[in-house]
Amino acid sequence: MDKRSARRGYEGVVAVVPITVPYVRYSIRTAHWFLARVLAELIRASGIDKASIDGLCVSSFTLAPDTAIGLTQHLGVSPRWLDHIPLGGASGVVALRRAARAVQCGDAQVVACISGDTNHVDSFRLTLSNFSSFARDAVYPYGAGGPNASFAFLTANYMREFGLERADFGKLCVAQRDNALRYPQALFKRPLGLQEYLDARPIAEPLRLFDCVMPCAGAEGFLVMSADRARSLGLAAVQVLGTIERHNSYPDDPVQVRGGWAMDRDDLYAQAGRGPQDVDLMQAYDDYPVISLMQIEDLGFCQKGEGARFIREHSFTWDGNFPFNTSGGQLSVGQAGAAGGYLGMIEALRQLTDAAADRQVAKAQTALVSGFGMINFDRGLASGAALLGRA
């Protein structure tokens, strides 16, 4: 890990005030409502006034027909820097890295990164049938299983190629449920046993019920500002050590077994000046457990194909030897649309500011947040990761 990154670091930029708008299974509100609630909470919790927020970064699937620009009028803000990041599960990481550069370069002083979605009874189906033109033309007409079908293929292939068993994925899911029992916003409140995981009803073999996220409504958000500004406001801050993003990586792989992290992880660790051995906790995007494992492998915690052994040799609860998705992940909290792409970021910010209550990872100094999103046709296209450090 002595290879130097050619990229500049993010010195002097911090992320502060992780906010969660409580998740609900269904809501009659709009995405606008959830995004307004999260912005209001950011303002209240940080103590700054609305006019001081001069940068806004938005992610949402259910905001249509609006985008970030329309939202500025709903929220009555006049930012001089505006971004809309439609990257699903990679939104949190990408929002952070873009906002950090904007603050670092002076294009904005305080950027509110917000993400949220509503969930009407019918909105999941509508999102699926119009998710992308490739999905509409080449996936949805095939059983309309949505991402379940696509990830069933990736999971089946991964198991066949690398010798994984369902119980391996089950260990991750069970540990995340244990974590979720200590996260008040989690929609799943009951413990999950391995046998219950294995015996759950099939959804799209080899995927069963507890391999799949439950769509819900909710929102997440945080602020990006200079370390000086955070200090003067008295806000607990988290340093941005390094970030990467990559899209449509390895297009010639017949079926996805790796993501962009494998291309860029050396650069990530070099920029941060830290390695996998320094990571105290990892928050990965977990729409399905196979994706969690892909991120563990591609971000250098074990070789590709050694995931089964890694899972068998580690424990993934908040107090385990590889604290992982310590608020429960989407699998046990719920997937609030694009806010799912912020869930790990928010939890990492809490862990590094000692705000994780009774699931606090002891002596957490460095967190790795990883994102993955947009299964456009047969594979997820967006990937990103960020290394965060206690300020």
Partner: protein, 414 residues
């Protein structure tokens, strides 16, 4: 292994007939290239004319060199099954009623990955498969992975039958049994396992060769039917409408003349009365009943076949009025197809070249034999093809027409 289909039990008339739902039919315009090929029974993918890359899903530019010169080219469909899943849950009504539903991810030998419906006889991941393009009930092209070698009762696979219009154990109306073509169709349907065939007979008091042979077949029921008689058509439709699964409208009137060679319009009017208005009468009589039974279990209403002519695409002046009547029928068949679509009932148009019958006596060979035409129709039903061009002449005219319709018009003018 596929279990062979069994003859459906008599329907309980008290039970509610399931209403038809369609699989998702939305497509981008460029993706309709797959549908256009599937309608002809072909599997084509976009191929870049500049760098040779084959790509899928369809797009407006080459994913390698960004060229816009993309051409749909026929593919072998050979590939390896990478992964299999069985959906136990779907967000769509059509599939919810048919769960569990098997899907496969296939790596084609042309280095393209596709998601496909999966025939039940395909072995586990790693197996060799053959991908075909077929039309689904919404009329759109989809891919299905088939075992690379023929298996027993392959056509009886329940998922495959959702795409085909197989006559096995289905009830069929053939509108004209007097012609050699009509009789060949009946024999072909019997070989394909049709359950019951009503065979129309106009002027039943006249003796036509071959009719008596039909009468002796246990599957055949001769019924009086004259498509030029509105009342007779509605009477028959009222009697059998609720049971017909497949309509094959082969009744036609063919008089070989253009405009100048014959005075008056009587012959042309008679042609229109059978070839165009006959279709209209029949469609008004039977259409509603077929639409209501588009999802009626194993042997639902599935298809409507029109015997048109290759002359429907471009007028053949020596048979000018006949060509015009078939062009009118083609246009009406497109309307029928649109109206049948919500029920998932496929409208199959058959465009033969000159048929080897008395009305094409002066037309030079090659001509389509009655048996070959009947086989093409049965095959179209079994494979779910929508536009059928049987015979070498039809294939050649089609190629010329697709290449340059104006050139064909001049060539046919002689």
């Amino acid at each position: 292994m596929t279990s062979p289909l069994t003859r459906p039990r008599r329907k309980n008339p008290v039970l509610r007939t399931r209403l038809p739902n369609l699989p998702p039919g939305g497509r981008s315009r460029v993706a309709l290239g797959l549908t256009a090929a599937a309608a002809l029974g072909r599997f084509e993918l976009q191929c870049c004319r500049d760098c040779g890359k084959v790509q899928y899903p369809p797009s407006e530019a080459c994913q390698v060199c960004l060229s816009e010169r993309l051409q749909w080219r026929e593919q072998s469909g050979a590939g390896e099954l990478l992964a299999v899943t069985e959906l136990a849950h779907s967000n769509d009504l059509f599939f919810r009623e048919r769960l569990p539903w098997r899907l496969g991810m296939v790596r084609l030998d042309c280095a393209v990955t596709v998601v496909a419906h999966l025939h039940g006889d395909c072995a586990a991941a790693g197996a060799r498969v053959r991908v075909e393009a077929v039309l689904d009930r919404s009329g759109q092209g989809v891919l299905i992975a088939m075992p690379d070698k023929e298996t027993a009762h392959m056509a009886d696979d329940p998922q495959l039958r959702e795409f085909t219009c197989d006559p096995k154990y289905r009830k069929v109306l053939v509108t004209d049994g007097r012609t050699a073509v009509g009789q060949a169709i009946v024999h072909s349907l019997i070989r394909a396992g049709a359950d019951l065939i009503w065979v129309g007979q106009s002027e039943p008091w006249k003796q036509f060769p071959g009719i008596e042979a039909l009468r002796t077949l246990p599957q055949v029921s001769l019924v009086p039917l004259d498509l030029s008689d509105s009342e007779a058509v509605s009477e028959l439709c009222a009697e059998i409408g609720g049971r017909v699964d497949i309509v094959i409208n082969n009744a036609e009137l063919h008089r070989p003349f253009g405009i100048a060679a014959r005075a008056g319009i009587e012959a042309a009017r008679a042609e229109m009365d059978i070839n165009y208005f006959g279709l209209l009468r029949l469609a008004q009589g039977l259409g509603p009943a077929l639409r209501a039974r588009g999802a009626d279990g194993q042997s639902s209403a599935v298809a409507w076949v029109n015997l048109l002519s290759i002359y429907a695409l471009s007028n053949y002046p020596p048979h000018g009025t006949f060509s015009a009547s078939k062009a009118a029928a083609l246009s009406l068949a497109q309307c029928l197809r649109a109206e049948m679509r919500p029920a998932g009932v496929r409208v199959i148009n058959v465009f033969p070249g000159p048929i080897d019958d008395e009305w094409n006596q002066t037309v030079l060979p090659p001509k389509v034999s009655a048996a070959a035409l009947a086989t093409a129709i049965t095959r179209a039903l079994q494979q779910g093809i929508e536009d059928v061009f049987p015979g070498d002449v039809a294939q050649e005219w089609l190629a010329r027409w697709r290449d340059n319709p104006k050139a064909l018009e001049r060539e046919l003018a002689g």
